[in-house]
């Protein structure tokens, strides 16, 4: 299930990223975005290519994302959504607006301009590098501001309380309105006649495209996004992890991980409170499925050296939680093989099942590896040494 995660670690990933960049640069240059006069024309209403290119790109990509998510072809939870830092984001945007008009480019277009040997483009790139240098040197001074108003991963859908399909439809309508309005405004201000568009039969291509867009988004008003369990069903490539028990770790491995300083362990115990209070493994926290479903933000933000281990009395809840977290796009998730029952069987076979609620103050909560004796097990935890997840210009 998409998105796939090509990385820079192998040749196919390297080639893919270069190819994507190549296509990006080619499209920008072919659209004339290596020319600062064309770009700034947007802000004098003489050339509205910036608006048209950006918005048609955003609308088309958004509609495709929502459609593939609705059809279960793409797990939108796994798609990078820039985190919202309300005030610094708006301030940064305002500052960039100044830079755009004064300098004539934005970072991407300046690279294209430089590539075609334009001096103003090259100088702009140099300026941008210097500006970033200054930022890096001074950000400490504005850190409280820079980190303020963080809202995390928030989409328009989340913020407005409407489905992503409805958002896509609204954006599509807004885009069409902007395009029509922009052309009218340009004509009124400058009297420039926009070239007659190519026609197919009675209709112009833009009209057909707009109609196509409307047809594509209307159904989105009525469909809903798949839930997590539905997503899991579609993630067939991940099913083997459970079926072949590739993520079920031995108590010995969990004990070892408890003592591993390089790994940050997030031990989630899914059992009811009384059981938890009676006995739980050292550092375990209580969790339940509903809470996990709502904690997506926190779980996705965990550091890349975090390993999540799910614990149940046996394996029932931890297996379901594994499906849930996997569908949410959380990585490095494992479950304790045999659960607490198996753990106690290994480390403290004589621990009574009833009795005082000692929580984690039992010896068996954190058995001494030396006393416990050497235990043979198959190591299953593999820390994906992926770079910190970032997208766009993060």
């Amino acid at each position: 299930m998409a998105p796939f995660h090509f990385t820079t670690g192998d040749v196919s990933g390297v080639l893919l990223f270069i190819a994507i960049g190549f296509a990006f640069g080619y499209i920008l240059e072919s659209s004339g975005f290596g020319d600062s006069r064309k770009l700034t024309g947007q802000f004098y209403f003489t050339d509205l290519a910036v608006l048209k290119v950006m918005f048609s790109a955003v609308v088309l990509a958004m509609v495709l994302l929502v459609w593939t998510s609705t059809l279960g072809l793409l797990n939108f939870d796994d798609v990078w959504v820039n985190h919202t830092f309300l005030v610094p984001g708006i301030m940064g945007g305002a500052v960039m607006g100044v830079g755009f008009v004064v300098g004539g480019y934005c970072p991407g277009t300046s690279l294209v301009s430089m590539a075609t040997l334009k001096k103003d483009g090259a100088v702009f790139v140099l300026g941008a590098l210097l500006g970033m240098f200054v930022f890096g040197e001074t950000v400490d001074g504005i850190l409280p501001f820079f980190d303020s108003t963080e809202m995390g991963r928030v989409t328009l859908s989340d913020a407005l309380g409407i489905g992503p399909g409805v958002v896509a439809a609204l954006v599509a309508v807004m885009a069409i309105g902007l395009f029509v309005g922009a052309d009218a405004l340009q004509k009124k201000l400058h009297g420039t006649k926009v070239d007659p568009a190519p026609r197919v039969g009675r209709f112009t291509v833009p009209t057909l495209a707009a109609a196509g867009l409307v047809v594509a988004v209307v159904p989105l008003l009525f469909v809903s996004q798949p839930g997590y369990l539905e997503k899991w069903e579609l993630m067939t490539d991940k099913h083997a992890l459970l079926e072949e028990r590739q993520v079920h770790i031995d108590p010995g491995e969990l004990l070892e991980t408890l003592g591993d300083d390089a790994v940050r362990l997030e031990l989630l115990d899914l059992r009811p409170e009384p059981a938890f209070n009676r006995f739980h493994i050292h550092t375990a926290q209580r969790a339940n499925l509903e809470g996990l479903a709502q904690a997506r933000e926190r779980l996705l933000a965990l550091s890349s050296n975090t390993v999540i281990v799910l614990v149940d009395q046996g394996e029932e809840r931890s297996t379901e939680a594994f499906r849930l977290l996997s569908a949410m796009g959380v990585r490095n998730v494992y479950l304790l093989e045999g659960g607490v029952d198996h753990w106690l069987h290994v480390y403290a076979p004589n621990t009574p099942t009833t009795g005082p609620a000692l929580g984690d103050r039992w010896a068996a909560s954190r058995p001494d590896p030396h006393d416990a004796g050497h235990r043979e097990f198959e190591k299953k935890i593999k820390l994906a040494t992926k770079p910190k997840r970032s997208g766009g210009c993060g």
Partner: protein, 178 residues
């Protein structure tokens, strides 16, 4: 699909913006579909800065948290997909320029200012843009296109702020372009 020639020394034909936009939209979707990330540019430029600083003084990078995150200790700031992408952007821009015979040294500017003035403002504008891009944690590609397509609230607010600001500043910057 082409539009009328833009003003300049030699006639050039650019793609129809809706055509270019549609292709860009497909590329953007393709990028999300294959890599889970959209497009980006300023992040890569930032990493180039960090890498350069690392060559001059690794200690400085190690002791500055914002820089250390990307290039501290044994982290290589250039080992990132965005670096590969900007190499592609430069290559793609060059090839398109060659195909359309638009590769030649020149300075684009408004008719009322000199080349020198234009270059000075390009440097200044670039500096402002670079600073702003890091403040916003992204630029028009990363926040605008990618964040916009993904529906990020912050990205849409960023776009609104950027356009509003640009239109406002344009009132005072006419001399540069018109």
């Amino acid at each position: 699909m082409t539009t009328a020639p833009a003003p300049g020394p030699a006639p050039t034909r650019f793609w129809n913006p809706y055509f270019g936009g549609a292709l860009l939209g497909l590329l953007l979707f393709f990028s999300f579909f294959m890599t889970s990330n959209g497009l980006g540019a300023s992040g890569a430029l930032n990493r180039v800065v960090v890498a350069t600083e690392g060559v001059i003084s690794q200690e400085h990078v190690d002791t500055t948290p914002y820089l250390a995150e990307m290039g501290g200790a044994d982290r290589n700031p250039l080992d990132h997909w965005m670096i590969l992408e900007i190499l592609g952007i430069i290559l793609g821009g060059l090839v398109s320029g060659l195909v359309h015979k638009r590769v030649r040294p020149e300075t684009f500017k408004g008719p009322r200012i000199s080349n020198a003035t234009r270059l000075a403002f390009a440097l200044l504008g670039g500096g402002i843009m670079g600073y702003g891009a890091r403040l916003a944690r992204g630029c028009t590609s990363g926040q605008g296109l990618s964040g916009g397509a993904a529906g990020s609230l912050g990205s849409w607010l960023f776009l609104a702020a950027m356009f509003a600001s640009a239109y406002f500043v344009a009132l005072f910057a006419r001399r540069l372009w018109r």
